[in-house]
Amino acid sequence: MELSKEQTQEIIARRVAQEFHHGDVVTLGIGLPTKAVQYLPPDVKIVVQSENGVLGVGDYPDENSADARIINAGGTMVTLSEGGCFMDSFMAFAMMRGGHIDITVLGALQVDAEGNLANWCIPGKFTPGMGGAMDLVVGTKKLIVAMEHTAKGAPKIVQKCTLPLTVAHKVNMIITEKGGFEIRPDGLYLTEISPYSSLEDIRQTTDADFQIDIK
């Protein structure tokens, strides 16, 4: 079965949403990770922090409530959830680095079997900068990489990252449209195979050694 880009992203976002528990404070990378909140069960309310100084990012505004003074880190206008608040960058990052975030979900260019993550630079080609990504990953209690399994067919889960790192030895979990992995003290484990993939498919599209411990 061939998945469209949209379908692929929805599969990943839906799976990420299952990782959230009621009351969790989470930070979400721009793009795919942000979509996960759309698939939360109705009884699970989470608090989304955005590095630009919003705690309690709410829905996207309609025409009437749109206000350019309330954006998320991607520059998109958002609303504030009831009980949320605004803060400066200094507090926003104290919150992250200080261990006050339960779950962080980020995309990756590469992620490896040791839990290293690269997502801010392809030397000579693409250097948007790390923005808040390096801070987002340091203090969080759980770091999930959510991404498409491959980029133009090339594996993004590798034995050892070759791109400049965002953080070393910190990723706890990888979620793609093909399955789920955990990074444990003794290495990478495949813990889930998606209905849209197979062990064989995952072996072929993953450039890292992994053990298997399907839950």
Binding site: D67, R69, G75, M87, S89, F93, T127, P128
Partner: protein, 216 residues
């Protein structure tokens, strides 16, 4: 007591070659009027300290397009292709700084601290050439304080004493940069006739030298 001036008057506090801090996160909470006036001058050759270089059409981004920045200390340049292009051509030096580290460095400069000891960037390119300090067996990067000649920030509300407060997510770096610069200019949406509520002031007026009021 802050002096209320026009955007055009504000340019007298800028000199070529200075280090400037400019507040804002992309276009949100970004000063604009003074930047537009600066674009009319032949001043430049500045070192810019800011969260990002915005977009080519907006605020800080326009300074990049006009080649007025020789060095940028920022966390993100991805939204301004001009920054990337000038960097790749070697016309613009860019020091990419993790955003939280940037915030701490600015505040350290403003608060008289010798630097920041952060775990962010350890074992990455960010750590290159920087001292690592061990505290209780754990490694931390020593990141140095930042200061500027002029800080140009935005605020939603001000009073004549220079006190500032903010609406929404406009606060970002605007709240800390005023501590770290020699001369501080705040561009504000609304100047309150009466003093702001002293319990809700984010930036105390003593940090603010000049106010530029939008819509005047």
């Amino acid at each position: 007591m802050a002096e209320i001036i026009s955007a055009a008057t504000a340019i007298q506090f800028f000199k070529s070659g200075q280090t400037l801090m400019i507040g804002g996160f992309l276009g949100c909470g970004s000063p604009q009027l003074v930047i537009d006036e600066l674009l009319k001058t032949d001043l430049g050759n500045w070192t810019l300290i800011a969260n990002d270089t915005s977009t080519p059409e907006s605020d800080r981004g326009k300074l990049i397009v006009a080649h007025k920045i020789k060095k940028a200390l920022v966390s993100h340049i991805g939204t301004n292709p001009q920054t990337v292009a000038q960097m790749n051509r070697g016309e613009l030096e860019v020091e990419l700084i993790p955003q939280g580290t940037l915030a701490e460095r600015v505040r350290a400069g403003g608060a008289g601290l010798g630097g920041v000891l952060t775990p962010v960037g350890l074992n990455t390119d960010v750590a290159k050439g920087k001292p690592i300090i061990q505290v209780d067996g754990q490694d931390f990067l020593l990141e140095k304080p930042l200061k500027a000649d002029v800080a140009l920030v935005y605020a939603t509300y001000a009073d004549k004493y220079g006190n500032l407060s903010f609406y929404g997510s406009t606060r970002n770096f605007n709240a800390i940069m005023p501590l770290a610069a020699q001369t501080v200019i705040a561009e504000v949406d609304k100047l309150s006739e009466t003093p702001l509520d002293p319990n809700h002031i984010v930036v105390p007026g003593i940090f603010i030298d000049y106010l530029v009021v939008r819509g005047r």
